[in-house]
Structures are given as C-alpha cells and as structure tokens.
C-alpha cells in the first residue's frame, strides 16, 4: 500500500500535478538559445516521410503497410564538381565503382548457381559512398568496412576474389572459410579492421586504432561506416564521444540509406538529419549526397586532413538509398515502390558516367566501353580464381583460437611510444579508497 496523499486533481493528460508546481508559462529567453548549422553539400534536398498506414483488403482484414509522402518527381541534380579530384582520379573512382557493382552482379549469379554459402549483401546504389570515401585515405590510414562496403575493400587493395571466396566459404578466402562477407581484416599491409555483425562495435575500435597510433607519434585517419539503423546502438554513442573527447582522427560515414533491414529511418531516430548528432558530440558534421562520388570524396578528404592534423573526428552523413533488400533473401516488398523509382534515377554509377562522358568529356564513349570491358574481364578472372579455390578441410576448423607459439610478433607499428621522462619515484598511495 502506498502512502495516502491528499487527492489532487488530475491534469488533462491524466497525471497528477508535480508537487504543486504549476506548468511553466515563461517564454524561453531567445538569447540563451544557441544555434548550430550543419554544412550540406547536396544539390537537392529530397524530403520524404515514410509512415505506417492501415489498409483493408476485400475481406475487410487489416494490413499495416508503409507509404511514402513527398515530391518524388524532382529532377535529378547534377554532380557537384570536386574541389580536389582531378580527371584521372575521377576516372579511377568510377572504375572502382564499376568493379564494385560487377563483382556484386557476379556474386548474385554465383548465389543463384548455389555456389554461395549463406546470403549475399549488396551495396547497390551505394557504390559512390563506399569507393570515393576509401579513395580519400592515405596508404597508412586505417579503415573498417561494414557489410555493404565491398567497394571500399577493392579500393584498399583487396582482390574481388577475396570477397567472392569469403562468400563461397573457400579455403583461400582471407579467413580461410571461418567467416564470410566482408568480415575480414589485415593489420599488416592494408590496415583494415575486420567487422563483426554487431552494429556499431567498430567505432570505438577505430578510435582506439587512432589512439594507439598517436601514442606512437602518428596522427592517422581511421575511417569506418555505420548505417542509419546501426547508429541507434549505444556503442555508437560511446565510440564517437570517446573519439571526440580524445580528439582522435575518426572519419565516420553514416550511411543514411533510409532502411535498416525492414525498418524505415523514421523508426530509427527523431532528428532531421543524422549529421545533427555531431552537434551533440561537439564535432563537425556534414551532409553529402551519397550517390555523388565527388561530394563523398571531398567531405572524406577534408575529414582525413583534419584527422592528420590531429583535430579530431568528423561525422559525414551520406544520403542515399539501399536499392535491394537487406540481403538476397529479402525482396524488400515493404519498401514503397516510388522510392525505388526516385532513387533509381540517382544511380551513382549512371550519374558519374554521364558526368565523365557527357558533361566533362573526360572519357570518350569508346574509352568508357573499353573501361567497362576491362572491368568485366577482371571480374571474370577473379571469379575464376574464386570458384577454383577448394573448400577448406573439416580439420581446418581447429586451432588458431589463441595466439601462441610465436604466431605473431607484437610490436609498435609506428615506432616506440613516446613516454614521459619524470623525476618522481614510486610512492605508496595514501589516498582514500572507494571500498575498504
């Protein structure tokens, strides 16, 4: 039994008034309010809302569906000229994007031929974001992909066959069959941290990579990605905040692709743009069109520079849409069709091709065809390699759980950590303690 209180009159929302307080009527003092702005490099600002609607079928049964509202007929904006990229670099990025897409097409075929174990994840519609971001990194910088960033892996020097073999669980895959997808890493040459499935967990890890390098006297950029869904995890907050407080060179791409599996971003967060979160962390945040390779690159470039100067993390929100289901098993029937149509017109490769071939005329039609053909040949060869790799032996499941028998030498990668030379000697502490 609770303590009896004098009955107080419920207010309109059914709550009892708080200890006699009256609701505040004072207007907030406008001069106390601060305003922040977030640079937005996009050349268009699509504004849609996805919401749930109850529909009745002929039998009168109710069904909950998603519907989209907003101007879905807006014209496709042009590519924004890059402040930093030259012709050659643009073509290179374009080639990576093509390679990315064609590799995924090959994977889809392999899947359908029963050669893939598990599922296939696609970065369709997000190739600009994966490739142009990774392209902005220096060789010594570190990065960690998420599952859709198969293009980043190519840019960072992994072969298409590496990813293909991962999907096919082959003995020669980077994890020797132990894991699939883009779940692999390389701390020796390519400075890549392997993702795990748990979303957001890479962010503090990358902050730690920057911390370790800084202790060894290097300011490195550490790039990773997080989805509009994955950013809801608590570890995302912890990781970004840690990097912010420690001024670590984290370059975090928030891949706002409107969906997290079947969940629209409306059910994921309340702020207008995820880049606004940067304000709360006290770090720069920018918005780019994730289907525009130049915008992605420029934002990444500036963030990487900041990181190299030791100025701390940057949050880059790349707006785009996931153009397939969550994975190959998912037909994405929950996505309102007009959304696909809208974003199909903003296909990053088609737009970039148009930019290079027709607007800039940096590629002739013939050169473009040759380039596409060369990508196809490359993918063909990679696919051959991957398919011909054997399956691992059962026994290869064993071992390697621990680092032992000198399998790794652990030493500072960038030189001896700088240590403070002090004069005070070790003294037993007399401070009060928390628990005795």
């Amino acid at each position: 039994m609770g303590i009896r209180k004098a009955k107080s009159k419920p207010t309109s929302n059914g709550n009892r008034p708080r200890n006699g307080a009256s609701s505040s009527k004072a207007k907030p003092n406008a001069t106390n309010l601060r305003t922040y702005s977030i640079p937005d490099y996009r050349l268009e600002h699509p504004n849609f809302t996805v919401r749930q609607r109850i529909e009745k079928d002929r039998l009168g049964h109710e069904h909950v569906r998603y519907e989209v509202e907003g101007d879905l007929n807006a014209p496709v904006p042009p590519i924004r000229d890059s402040k930093y990229l030259d012709k050659k670099q643009c073509i290179e990025i374009y080639r990576w994007m093509l390679l990315n897409r064609k590799m995924e097409v090959a994977l889809e075929n392999l899947y359908k031929q029963g050669k893939v174990v598990g599922g296939v994840y696609f970065g369709l519609g997000q190739e600009a974001c994966s490739c142009a971001s990774a392209y902005a990194l220096d060789e010594d910088d570190w990065f960690a992909p998420m599952i859709r960033n198969q293009g980043s892996l190519l840019v960072r020097g992994f072969a298409a066959s590496d990813t293909m073999m991962q999907y096919m669980a082959k003995a020669d895959s980077p994890t020797k069959g132990r894991d699939g997808t883009s779940h692999f890493g390389d701390i020796e040459r390519r400075n890549m941290v392997s993702p795990i499935s748990m979303l957001g967990d890479l962010i503090p890890v990358m902050a730690g990579v920057a911390l370790g390098a800084r202790l060894q006297g290097r300011n490195l950029a550490v790039m990773t990605y997080i989805g509009d869904g994955g950013q809801s995890t608590g570890v995302t907050y912890e990781g970004i905040n840690f990097a912010a407080v420690q001024n670590l060179g984290l370059v975090l791409f928030v891949e706002s692709n409107l969906w997290a599996y079947s969940t629209p971003s409306e059910l994921q967060y309340r702020c207008k743009d995820l880049a606004e979160r940067a304000i709360g962390y006290g770090i720069p945040g920018v918005i780019v069109d994730g289907t525009d390779a130049c915008q992605v690159y420029d934002a990444a470039h500036e963030a990487v520079d900041r990181a190299h100067r030791g100025e701390g993390p940057t949050l880059i929100e790349a707006k785009m849409m996931r153009m397939k289901g969550h994975a190959i098993h998912d037909a994405a029937s929950y996505v309102p069709k007009p959304m696909f149509e809208f974003w199909k017109k903003r296909d990053p490769i088609a737009r970039f091709e148009n930019y290079l071939v027709r607007e800039k005329k940096w590629l002739t039609a013939k050169e473009n065809e040759e380039l596409i053909a060369s990508v196809e040949t490359e993918i063909e060869a990679e696919r051959e390699t991957a398919v011909n790799s054997p399956m691992p032996t059962p026994e290869s499941a064993e071992g390697g759980v621990y680092c032992e028998d000198g399998c790794h030498e652990i030493k500072p990668k960038y030189g001896a950590p700088k240590v403070k030379k002090g004069t005070s000697t070790f003294k037993q502490t007399e401070a009060a303690v928390h628990l005795r």
Partner: protein, 323 residues
C-alpha cells in the same frame, strides 16, 4: 494439429497476446516485416503497431525498456533478431534484470526470445548458443525447447512466468520439424525435463536441436542392441536435477550432449550434478559430446566438424556401452 516449431512458437505468443492485454512484443523488424524469421508475421495487422513495436537497433534499450514496462505490470516479449546479439544487452540482462527481484523486490516478468544455434551456415555471429552466459546468472530462467509441443507450451509458460525468461529458439528446427500441437490452451512447466525416448542401456542428456541428433542416433544404435534413453532438459536453468539423477539411476551410463563449446559448457554442470546426486549409480565415466572450443566457423565442412553429429553420438555410445 501438426505445426512446425516456428509456427508453434508463433501461435503461442499470438494466443497469449489474445488472452492477456498486458502482453506486447518489441524488437527489430518484427512489425510489418514480421521478424527476420517471421515469428511475428501478421501480428502487427492483428494487434496493431502499439503492441508490436519495431524498435531502433538498440538491444540494451530493448531489454531496458521491456524491463521498465514490466515494472508497470506489463508482460513484454522482446525479440532478438539473432541470439548472438543478446550480448549487446548483456549488462541490462545480467546486472539490471536478473538482480532486481533479489535486491529490491521488483519482479521482472519479461521474455527475451530469439533464434540461436548452428547447422545453417550462419557463421560465427549467427550460429551461437549463448545460453551458458545466462545459466551462470542467478535470477534468470533459460529455456531451450526441442519440439513444437514444448516450444508452444514453454513460450506460454515463459510469458506467464513472473521472472525474466530467456527463450532460445533453435533456428535449425524452425521449419525443419513438425509435431502434434493440441488446439486447446496448455503450458509446459519451466524447469521440468522430459524423457524424449525411454531406454535402458545408456542415457543421453541433452536439449534443443541435439535431442533430434540423439533420436537419430538411437535409431542406428537400436540395431546394435543399444537402447538409448534420451532426456530432453527443455529448461537449462533451473535444471531438473531429479530427472537427471533418475535417468542415471536407471541406465547407469550417461552421455551429455550439447551444441555449444565444451569448456565451461552445460555438460560440466550436469556432470557435477550427477556426481552429487548419483555418483554411486555410475557404471562408467560421464561422457561429454559438445562443440569445439572455438567460434563456430562459417564454411560448411568446418562447421560440420565443429558441431556434434549423429556419428559422434553413435561412436561414443558404443564406446560407453562396451566400457
């Protein structure tokens, strides 16, 4: 009525939501999509978005919010898309939910459920059997059904239970097994094991998908004249000590079979119970069959090697019989 394991769970939750307005579901992609494995397919149409809540990807918040709601007298059923992700909410479960009744007298009548287990080439992050993380957490009940009948009866029991229950659904069984499920309302008591097969020569103590592995092995061993008894634990915390002791007293030889890694696995605990309750009834050493002490590898040959198999049970049963 013949139902799949998945359909039985689905029906169990559905009926509880129908019966009790305090029951509601929350989780990732459980609404319009109906969940990654479609356990809540159609729920949002029937019960509405208020009671079938698509949450942000935030496992800690899901558990915390479920617990909070339970404090107001609700009975939340929270889904993990894969039980592998339950680790993201570990602190909420272990330090918040599990301890609350003991420390400040607040019950936490919630259910945390989701798919676990291997045999589907899910790789190291979609194949785990993390039940032991919770068995070692006083305050939680940990349930791992093996049959459609038990799955439905136990999910209902879990929802009605006044304690936090973690309900592991074996994803390999979801659509692979069918079984008779009565139309009328019933529950299966939590904490009670079940003899899945009566036998006299040797007991296999196991649960979840491994029950079926043991049953298959029993058919093979029958031809050798070895009559297996199979004890399906159904609940791994609290364990049915009596049933364990009883089967040991009956057959005097025991194999404990589980899917997760051997070291620190449930078999160790059960062996200790046998030691405490029925040492003098042993006519041979307690044998463990378990997963390797490594993560679950992705590639099929490796995964096959990692996981316990019918052959393993047959081989070990023959050895133990001859002992």
């Amino acid at each position: 009525m013949q139902l799949t394991y998945l359909e039985a769970i689905r029906q169990g939750i559905w009926e509880e939501m129908d019966r009790d307005p305090t029951v509601f579901c929350l989780g990732e992609d459980i609404g319009i999509y109906g969940g990654a494995f479609k356990v809540t397919d159609g729920f949002i149409d029937r019960f509405g978005a208020e009671r079938v809540i698509d949450t942000p990807i935030a496992e800690s918040a899901i558990v915390g919010a479920a617990f909070g709601a339970s404090l107001t007298g609700m009975r939340p059923v929270a889904e993990f898309q894969f039980m592998d992700f339950i680790g993201c909410a570990f602190n909420q479960i272990s330090n918040m939910v599990a301890k609350t009744h003991y420390l400040w007298g607040a019950p936490a009548p919630l259910v945390l459920r989701g798919p676990s287990g291997g045999y589907v080439h899910g790789g190291p992050f979609h194949s785990q059997n993390p039940e032991m993380w919770f068995v070692h957490n006083p305050g939680l009940k940990v349930i791992c059904p093996a049959t459609p009948y038990d799955a439905k009866g136990l999910i209902k029991a879990a929802i009605r239970d006044n304690n936090p229950c973690i309900f592991f659904e074996h994803k390999y069984l979801y659509r692979r097994i069918k079984g008779e499920v009565p139309a009328e309302d019933y529950v299966v008591p939590i904490g009670k094991a079940n003899i899945a097969r009566e036998g006299r020569d040797l007991s296999i103590i196991t649960y979840a998908a491994m029950v079926h592995t043991a049953l298959e092995a029993a058919e093979i061993l029958k031809n050798d004249g070895i009559d297996l008894e199979i004890l399906d634990l159904r609940t791994v915390s609290p364990l049915d000590r009596e049933a364990i002791a009883q089967t040991v007293k009956k057959t005097n030889k025991v194999i404990i079979l589980h899917e997760h890694s051997r070291t620190g696995g449930l078999a160790g605990e059960i062996a200790a119970i046998i030691n405490e309750e029925a040492f003098d009834d042993l006519d041979g050493p307690v044998v463990r069959i378990a997963g390797l002490d490594s993560p679950v590898p992705f590639s099929p040959p490796q995964e096959h090697h990692y996981l316990p198999k019918v052959e393993d049970v047959v081989r070990e049963a023959r050895r133990l019989k001859a002992y």
